[in-house]
Symmetry: C2
């Protein structure tokens, strides 16, 4: 029984491996996998815990296995802006840099798969496709960041909220049942109103008001404070301000 098969079986979707997972698994080569296995270890954090503060020494790179983490920047006077949302399989840390550039916080309970930085860098230098895979992932992050720049710079509060809900809804829908776009989508918000505000460049009061407004208008349904139902996804999409047929980049 090969080590490779072993590992594939134990980590479905290779969720803890930043280099080969999902569609890329086919590229796996046994000996590289063993090397990655040798330098990896897991860390767990509780919801609300800070993984690392901006500027602190960061002697590892990591990928999210389960849970959600956030990247935020803080100004001297306390103004905060979230600049990234890390979902399972997303990568944190930068090869070649030993200090964290952002505050990394566990929003939910979080498990990360860490690689000590030095050996990871050495492995990357000797293993071409690690850099190639990281490049792909980084380009995706860059696209997401730029989409968020449009949101932050030009969208109204209502459009911002709708966009965030749409992103979470679509992600949840694709995870749960790839072919169920017809019916209503229900999910738990993984963010507090304040975290949503930090992500959207708003205040928590405005977030709350716009959530209420979307509820009043029948775009969403709230069950408690966190559980959201989208009766008709297209109706929500109408509110985001995005092109109706956007996102066909090949």
């Amino acid at each position: 029984m090969s080590v490779h098969r072993d590992i594939r079986a134990s980590n479905q979707d290779c969720g803890d491996c930043p280099i080969r997972h999902r569609a890329v698994c086919a590229r796996c080569e046994e000996d590289e996998l063993i090397q990655l296995e040798q330098i990896k270890y897991y860390r767990s954090y509780q919801a609300g815990q800070t993984v690392i503060w901006s500027g602190d020494k960061m002697d590892f790179v990591a990928s999210v296995v389960t849970g959600i983490a956030t990247l935020t920047q803080t100004m001297e006077d306390g103004r905060r802006q979230m600049v990234g949302l890390l979902l399972p399989s997303d990568f944190v840390g930068r090869p070649g840099r030993s200090a964290a550039a952002y505050d990394v916080t566990a929003t939910t309970d979080l498990v990360m798969c860490c690689f000590r930085r030095k050996p990871f860098e050495e492995l990357m230098a000797s293993t071409p496709h690690i850099a190639q895979r990281l490049l792909e992932m980084t380009l995706d992050e860059l696209d997401a960041a730029r989409e968020w720049m449009l949101l932050l710079g030009r969208k109204t509060a209502r459009e911002k909220i709708a966009s965030l809900l749409a992103i979470i809804a679509r992600r949840d829908a694709s995870l749960k049942e790839p072919r169920a776009n017809a019916g209503a989508i229900t999910f738990d918000l993984p963010l507090t109103r304040e975290e949503m505000a930090d992500y959207l460049g708003l205040t928590l009061e405005t977030v709350s008001r716009q959530m209420s407004a979307l509820k009043r208008d029948g775009i969403i349904t709230l069950d408690g404070k966190r559980q959201v139902t989208i009766p008709v996804l297209d109706a929500l999409m109408e509110e985001t301000g995005d092109d109706s047929d956007g996102g066909f980049l090949v």
Copy 2:
């Protein structure tokens, strides 16, 4: 006489080569250089010309040789947000994607060094350090995008303008005279008021008003509409809202 030396001599700073330039030139290997030389060609654009529209087929990747280009996103109703500023040596295009994700526009007269996409991707697959170099560049872009997210989401109009001027001033200062931080810095704005507004998530009127305000307060001096002088860089930095000692990431 090696081809390598030839090319280094003719393109100072390797400004037209996205993979090895500046400090990375040391990595150059002659045969790869020849291969890159074989698939590259130049394109020129006049100020104001559109290089490519979002969604259009883009059969090349490229790097800026001289001039400035911008990446912008436009919403259906015409709201525009600039999401990237491409300076000499910056890279455009995405390996593995054949459609442009943004409008690319020449802000000044522009020369780009282009590589047909297919051969470039093949070269990248067979030449590890191309992906590694592109990864570094993309990570830098991602950091810049995230810094801009903080600006768009949380900074005031005055802070936004000051931040933009500071970025341009520091870049110009470092290009012209690396060790002349003491005196005043003078440069020509490469952007119109409207382009500044698109970059900063403001209207052109607000940009104009804030420029006037900074002039009134002695932070900047205007000579004509475009030539800007920063008498005391630290005074401008004070207005950006950034940490006074920011940016020491190693």
